[in-house]
């Protein structure tokens, strides 16, 4: 399996590390060569038919802030045309306005009949239906476990392990930054602005925090879940959204008097698609602390199924990308066995 990796930031580098750590084991389990044949960041790229050494790429990126020779005005899409690959791992920044540049990368790969594994929310939260139809038309596979919940498996759990169930609703906490802020306000009595600054200092929140605290990130994830698990064809713009900006200490202490905490909850069901702050009873799974993510599914047979885990991070997100990569390898393995 020849892989091209687009985006060599936190997640891309995490993926390189994971490939270097797990590559050999995977190759022997699936009896298939796993090669990284191309890597891109915003200004440079590196290709090798024989396969690149992920360790070397990491060292080079650290030293030179590039992965290879400069693109010199060449676009990623042009460069891609000359690379022979099977799977694209797309990990460029999420853009919720138009999905670019990830949308262009994913579209090009699918059109060429290549499989795609991505952590990028933008293209999926905006153009899910189109991308899925494109994948189907070109007999390509598009997997995106890493786009929601970081390391926490949700999409594949719901679509594959719970395949026979009717999932009636999902309630989830999908933004660790908001959870961190709300927790600090409650535990330490910090006002909102101070808790936000702390989240920024600890590297949880972006410099422009609006993506987290106005519920944009959560809404993008809610749209992806609605599409992937509830069979909707909706976009980020269809999600009813309100964030946590403006929640006061008084509100938090008033909730506490009633043994409740405030959490930014994404709720997805056939009749609801919303991200909003909610009152959650203390002790309820959604009252989870720290920066963890949690998903509570209501199903017809199994009842409540809850998964929780780390929602972001270098190796954590790479672990979700890896789970999709392994799923592709496994499927190929089955196909190979059948055709033998």
């Amino acid at each position: 399996m020849d892989i091209v990796l687009i985006g060599f930031g936190t997640v891309g580098q995490g993926m390189a590390e994971v490939l270097s750590r797990k590559g050999a084991t995977l190759q022997s389990s699936f009896r298939e060569k796993l090669r990284l044949v191309g890597v891109f960041d915003s200004s440079s790229y590196e290709v090798s038919k024989k396969g690149l050494d992920p360790r070397e790429l990491l060292t080079r990126k650290e030293k030179l802030h590039r992965v290879g020779p400069k693109l010199e005005g060449k676009s990623v899409l042009d460069a891609l045309k000359d690379i022979d690959y099977d799977v694209m791992i797309e990990a460029t920044p999420t853009n919720i306005e138009d999905g670019q540049p990830g949308l262009g990368h994913i579209t090009a790969a699918l059109k060429a009949g290549k499989d795609v594994v991505t952590s990028n929310k933008g293209p999926l939260a905006l153009k899910y239906g189109e991308l899925m139809r494109l994948a189907e038309k070109n007999d390509a596979r598009l997997r995106f476990e890493a786009s929601v919940g970081g390391a926490t498996p949700i999409i594949n759990v719901a679509r594959e392990l719970l395949m026979g169930e009717k999932i009636q609703s999902i309630r989830a906490i999908v933004n660790g930054t908001c959870n961190f802020i709300l927790n600090r306000m409650m535990d330490e009595g910090l006002p909102f602005d101070q808790a936000l600054r702390e989240a920024q200092e600890m590297g949880y929140a972006e410099k422009d925090p609006s993506y987290d605290i106005d519920g944009i990130d959560s809404a993008a994830k809610a749209a992806i879940l609605a599409n992937a698990i509830f069979g909707r064809d909706c976009s980020y713009n269809d999600v009813r959204r309100s964030g946590i900006r403006g929640i006061t200490l008084e509100a938090i202490s008033m909730a506490a008097e009633e043994k409740k905490v405030i959490r930014l909850v994404a709720e997805i069901s056939p009749s609801r698609l919303e991200v909003s702050p909610r009152l959650v009873p203390v002790g309820h799974p959604l009252a989870i602390g720290g920066t963890l993510n949690i998903f509570q599914m209501m199903t017809d047979l199994a009842g409540e199924v809850t998964v929780a885990g780390r929602g972001a991070g270098r190796l954590e997100t790479a672990s979700a990308l890896l789970s999709d990569l392994v799923a592709l390898m496994k499927e190929d393995c089955v196909v190979r066995r059948r055709t033998v």
Partner: protein, 218 residues
């Protein structure tokens, strides 16, 4: 019209006895408990209210001979009742009778009366009976620029939605901030009423830039 804290003589005194109404003004009732003001729009309907599921708990004393339990439960099903639970106390036999606790739902007071009639005819002894209307809870926390008169309007708005069993609004009288937080707790007699309360509050919140934080529901 009824006075709100802003219209009450200041300073507001704290009540010494928790939960005791300092000022009870009929409907809605206004309580001030420590620094919290509680406004309660309550209507308590007895079990005579029609058209709403009623949950009934009955302690029955049955003769300790076979067939008695069936005889006691049959009238419930025959009158469209839905049996929720039965607890049999075999060990406690007094005067040849054993106690059975039955919990069931009926759709009207009339059905309950029929059941009671049939028990009487069947010599099923009813030791204790209590009933409760089934209600559907809602809860919200509002955050933003909320004056007492805004809250009054909101309470009245919810009240005017219909199907309301009760609603209570709590807020702090601390004069420090413009940004206030207020809790709303309520009960609806019909489940469909919950959606109307939600629509009303969402609309109201959007209009006046208030943050609306809703409970998780069931």
């Amino acid at each position: 019209m009824w006075p709100f804290p802003s219209e009450l003589p200041q300073p507001i005194q704290e009540t010494a006895t928790a939960g005791l109404p300092l000022i009870a003004l009929g409907r809605p009732e206004l309580y001030i408990h420590a620094h919290i003001v509680i406004i309660r729009f309550a209507r308590s309907f007895g079990p005579h209210y029609e058209g709403n599921e009623m949950r009934v708990h009955a302690d029955l004393r049955l003769k300790d001979v076979p067939g008695q339990l069936v005889r006691a439960l049959e009238p419930i099903s025959a009158n469209d009742g839905n049996i929720v639970g039965v607890v049999h106390h075999h060990e406690a036999v007094t005067a040849g009778r054993i106690t059975v606790n039955v919990t069931f739902e009926v759709s009207s007071q009339k059905s309950l009366e029929h059941i009671l009639d049939e028990w009487k005819k069947g010599e099923v002894d009813v030791a204790r009976l209590s009933s409760m209307l089934e209600t559907f809870d809602f809860e919200y926390l509002l955050v933003g620029e909320l004056s007492p008169s805004d809250l009054r309007e909101i309470g009245e708005g919810i009240e005017s939605i219909g199907d309301l069993d009760s609603v209570e609004i709590r807020y702090s009288v601390s004069p420090s901030a413009d940004e206030k937080a207020a809790m709303i707790f309520g009960k609806m007699k019909q489940k469909s009423g919950l959606g109307r309360v939600d629509d009303f509050l969402r609309h109201r919140a959007m209009q006046s830039g208030i943050i609306l934080i809703s409970g998780l529901g069931e």
